[in-house]
Symmetry: C2
Subunit: 412 residues, 2 copies
Amino acid sequence: MLTKDFNYTVIPNGVCAAQGFVASGVHCGLRKNKNRPDLALIYSETMCQAAAVYTQNRVKGAPIYVTQRHLANQQAQAIIINSGNANTCNPDGEEKAQIMCQTIADQLAIAASDVVVASTGIIGESLPIELIVDAAPALKNQLSREGNDQAAAAILTTDTCQKEYAISLEIAGKTVNIGGISKGSGMIHPNMATMLCFVTTDAAIESTLLQQAVRDVTDETFNMISVDGDTSTNDMVTVLASSLADNTLISDSNSAEYQSFVQGLYVVLMQLSRKIAQDGEGASKLLECQVTGAKEKSTARFVAKSIITSSLVKSAMFGQDPNWGRILCAIGYSDGDFAIENVQVDLASTKGRETVCLNGSRADFDVKKLESILTEDEIFIYVDLGQGEAKATAWGCDLTYDYVKINADYHT
Amino acid sequence: MLTKDFNYTVIPNGVCAAQGFVASGVHCGLRKNKNRPDLALIYSETMCQAAAVYTQNRVKGAPIYVTQRHLANQQAQAIIINSGNANTCNPDGEEKAQIMCQTIADQLAIAASDVVVASTGIIGESLPIELIVDAAPALKNQLSREGNDQAAAAILTTDTCQKEYAISLEIAGKTVNIGGISKGSGMIHPNMATMLCFVTTDAAIESTLLQQAVRDVTDETFNMISVDGDTSTNDMVTVLASSLADNTLISDSNSAEYQSFVQGLYVVLMQLSRKIAQDGEGASKLLECQVTGAKEKSTARFVAKSIITSSLVKSAMFGQDPNWGRILCAIGYSDGDFAIENVQVDLASTKGRETVCLNGSRADFDVKKLESILTEDEIFIYVDLGQGEAKATAWGCDLTYDYVKINADYHT
């Protein structure tokens, strides 16, 4: 998705990097551990253009429905998020999601319909809304330009680390900032959107183009990661654009300015996607699968996702086992148009690169070198289908004892 | 698939239960453990009608291609199977699979084209064909009416137990026997056929009807189990019918006789499917998911398979964790036509049954009773979609530390 001449600078402050945004995170009591914040707020001083993509799971969390209604006019000014409870499969879920919006809107003196709401945590437990109502004043009072870390921490569940990324880029002579936070860990197999990701930017961009950019970039980033094949009920990617960068309004999808913005958004969402895959539940390794040489883009996507989703490939990577036959097996059962006798597979890491399969059969590889390659924390799987020009990249993680451990006793 | 008046008797001797069949199993050296047989033979004294279904993986083991050619005339008299090596992704694979057929055909004084060949084990390692050639005389000499156990043992890989099942039923006044062996364990997510299953019967049935029966029954049995979501390269279900039961030839798919045969085949394949799910790699529990009330059969199938394939549901069952929200999540991301607000979910075992979800929301259930239900080795998940009459059943197993352990070091 990136052109060779695309330049950007990595900057600090995550979701507060763009002009006009403040954030906060507090402990309201939804999580038992008092040292972990569980309620986050992102606020823009000015009204923003807003765009979002949501889970395609037919079971949707109540906050998804409320947010969809609030973003019907493609504008928003605040985002409130809780962890510890997904507010999903509850008869009073939408009512409580609406109370979350109204409560924080009252604090901020804005309209409830300009608030985006998201929840993550266990499904099917009633949301103790009074905890959120009681914490709303503190959440508002702690808003600051440095609140991004607290907000990033407050949206986590079984994640082991915060996930933030921000960049600045130049669009027609003006500096534009784009920054985001996300959470992932388990139930990660996004379809259209993933878990939770909140992005802010000071770019001036028309809301319809913002929506198009979010959809296209999500397809290449969050929709190309998998931790466990389970598509969550509460996935959401939301972008707020404040226009404070003072760039000429981006209003043409064929313009160089729009292409720059899309590439900037790609960098941020791709980095946040990788962080989610790397911090998948129990994961010890990040897997990046690059598929090239496909006749169709869809084939490249199917093959890349099939490989990083395979339990057998994931287990082999955990065991640092060069069992490349499982990669061939996962290619074979993926959808799409390819001829297995044209397939080449390479495995690589910072320790080097080895071709393990040529023309669909075993290549003459150095087993010792291969084993050494697999000891690293980031493993690259290169698949050349040898039939065309289309390509795709997907990210995943290994399957470990800890994944099972985490998910065998999440509830209790 | 079973009518209420269908009667059958469970009998011993697995693949040797039907008249005319003998079997054997020997250790030829493909597996390191000398106490484990790794080469099996099933032989019919008379020429049989033969039918098979195969994996839909685009990467197919060499034996699949050879068997497809040999069964083009819908006749066969012997089946040779090795474990320890899948003979897949090898440039000389088909040549060696053909040598396996020729070698045993010479011993049996039959044509190589009347031999079915199958292999299971690691992908992409050259098959040491000389071990099989050397063992062929012993394999033939040990053929006996009691050889079914040895044959059942010789086809196993990481399976922890042999999988055999046989029944007798009456068709138009004659006793017909149907018996089979199978192996499973890992890389189990069949699509059209599964891993390896070999069935013998003495029924007299036209080969086209035999093929139809195998396809239809496989769709309801092996194609409804999943251990790890990975569809193997070597899946195959083969049925040989010797005609020695002396029943009037079954030649009409609308006849009561054909329906009886299909139901008998269903019982055998369903029991073998359950055994594979129960003995999934590392599994401690069998999961049976019965979906009812669907508008379309396809919806019932999608929902049942989605639930028993979910890593999060499987981990929760291992942890005996009544986290029913994960079942709702897996229903939600499955394909098919349903309304989540009509859904009811019950969990059951020999300890009782509890409704955990009513109308898509949490039901008022007894947590202590539910926890007790989940301590059993066979867990039943009942899903009523509340919208129609179609139904489907799927089988799976829990996801345990041992699955990861087994697959992290299978190769080395």
